[in-house]
């Protein structure tokens, strides 16, 4: 941006010409593109990068020098970590390195599926209760009730009534997470409805479904995305807790919670059985939380100052 101070029009006498504007008013350097965004928001880059690595580890687990994670070998029980067994072996002789790497699949599948399902369901419920006045009271009282049940206990109760499987774990955690998302979407919808551009759209004859699609939905996406990352993190923790207390994925599937549950009896003498899955779980949750914090700061600069 340049400000021209030379004028071709003859200056009338007595009229001073303003001095050139200082550089202060010039826009700051704007970084563009994906790389620019990541450089502006390093937490997104760190969290996203870590998460991507873990997803790749999960997908390519069979090719990362692993063996069958369920292969029993009673002859080599509870070996300490060594060059042969990188993370050691558990009390049934199974290779912990392989089990922990395959465990990434369960945690990430549960985390990402719950985030997606709970967001979709919460979006639908939130939109309905934000727009349909008579449904709002009923739906929100119901959500109040559901929210009063601590999420882990709700998931435990659901799991006690169904057979343990990854699908049922996802379903149980999703049910427990829906109220929070629908509350968030509803509050966003209620504030968006009062915006002048929505009034303008209504006045110019736009139908409600079109208003929702064009004006409301795009504005709910940013807070939803941030919320979805937090749901993903919390779902992974809840999954490991469920597995740890025996109400989660069946023991035949190596999940981090299951490995820790099996190592629980021996943890005072063989702490590495609990340590490795615990470390992986913590790093994964940390990565997702960093991603969420970074996205929140990036998508809503007003929040960045506060939290």
């Amino acid at each position: 941006m340049t400000v021209s101070t030379t004028s071709t029009v003859p200056v009338p006498p007595g009229l001073a010409i303003a001095p050139p504007l200082p550089d202060l008013l010039l826009p700051v350097k704007v970084r563009r593109g994906v790389m620019g965004f990541l450089r502006n928001h390093p937490t997104v880059a760190i969290g996203g990068g870590l998460l991507l690595c873990l997803v790749l580890v999960g997908i390519f687990a069979p090719y990362l020098w692993t063996v069958d994670p369920t292969a029993l070998a009673p002859a080599r029980r509870t070996r300490a970590p060594s060059a042969l067994y990188w993370f050691g072996t558990d009390m049934l002789g199974r290779d912990l390195y392989s089990r922990v790497l395959y465990g990434a699949r369960v945690s990430l599948t549960v985390g990402l599926s719950v985030a997606a399902l709970a967001s979709l369901a919460g979006l639908a419920i939130g939109l309905v209760s934000g727009f349909v006045r008579w449904a709002d009271g009923i739906v929100m009282r119901f959500m109040d009730g559901l929210m009063s049940i601590p999420p882990i206990l709700l998931a435990v109760a659901l799991m006690a009534l169904t057979r343990g499987s990854v699908g049922n774990v996802i379903l149980a955690i999703t049910v427990a997470e829906i109220p929070r998302v629908s509350r968030l979407v509803r509050s966003v919808v209620l504030s968006l409805r009062e915006q002048p551009y929505v009034d303008a759209a209504t006045a110019s004859g736009t139908r409600t479904p079109m208003i929702i699609l064009r004006h409301i939905l795009p504005n709910t996406l940013a807070p939803m995305l941030v919320q979805a990352t937090y749901i993903c993190a919390s779902a992974m923790i809840v999954e490991s807790i469920l597995s740890f207390i025996g109400a989660g994925t069946p023991p035949t599937i190596p999940s981090w919670g299951n490995i820790m549950a099996e190592g629980r009896a021996l943890w005072q003498v063989k702490p590495y059985i609990v340590f490795f899955p615990a470390a992986f779980l913590s790093v994964t949750v940390l990565a997702v939380n960093l991603l969420g914090d970074g996205l929140r700061d990036a998508l809503d600069p007003r929040m960045a100052k506060g939290l």
Partner: protein
Amino acid sequence: MLSYILRRVLSTVPVMAIVALFVFSLLYIAPGDPAAVIAGDQASPADVERIRQGLGLDRPFLVQFGSWLWHILHGDLGTSIFTNLPVSALIAQRIEPTLSLMVLTLGLAIVIAVPLGVVAAWKAGSWVDHTIMAFAVLAFSFPVFVVGYVLAYVFALGLEWLPVQGYTPLAEGIWPWLQNLILPAVALGCVDVALIARITRASMLEVLQQDYIRTARAKGLDRRSILFVHALKNAAVPIVTVIGIGVALLIGGAVVTESVFAIPGLGRLTIDAILRRDYPVIQGIVLLFSFLYVLVNLVVDVIYTLVDPRIRY
């Protein structure tokens, strides 16, 4: 004031009714045949039928719900399938350790988190602030049993300062009781400390920018009274709210913490009930904790009006 509190108390009734209805209908909306799942794979058809009758699944939904609710209102939470003891008696046996753990944890979390948040807001942008906030993100990401195992490994097995596991009733003295609860409370409290510290900082940052804080500073008031008397009081509403949310996290985390530290509380009862598929016990515990949580929210709302007299619903 009194009429507000009374109205607020009455408004918990419908919420509790919905909680009860929901917890009850889980039996009916769960996919598959819950009676068969509860009975297990080795059960005979007669066993399944016996459990179906025990749970009342053979009767119409509304009839069963009515009689179930009637019993609950009279303090009867049903009978355990496995031990044949009343669920309320089982819960009464186990409630002391869990309540001790939760109260101690919440107290500890508030005492640690609020000053941390205040200091972080006061020193906003400095290395103190960054350290506290980095700790908050870490504490939020480490699951409670991970923290629990690390603490037990370092302070109980390694340094031998505190017992590794177990529980001593309060009746046997404060110190033995406290000794067993310190590590579990710290492990369980980490998440709450992170949560409360973050909100305290955010809320304080907003308040500290207001004019009356500048006035107080200009008057020459010392920093401590500005921060903890003038500012904190006005920053209190979000903090009280998040402490209420923190209780929900505590309830879930207590189940796991008790299993890491072998504390014979409600968490242990829950896990045993899960292993035996003793659904009435699980149902009773879920109901109890949900009602507890509704009560906590009620208390939080009443505290609002004490902290900020402008709030009226």
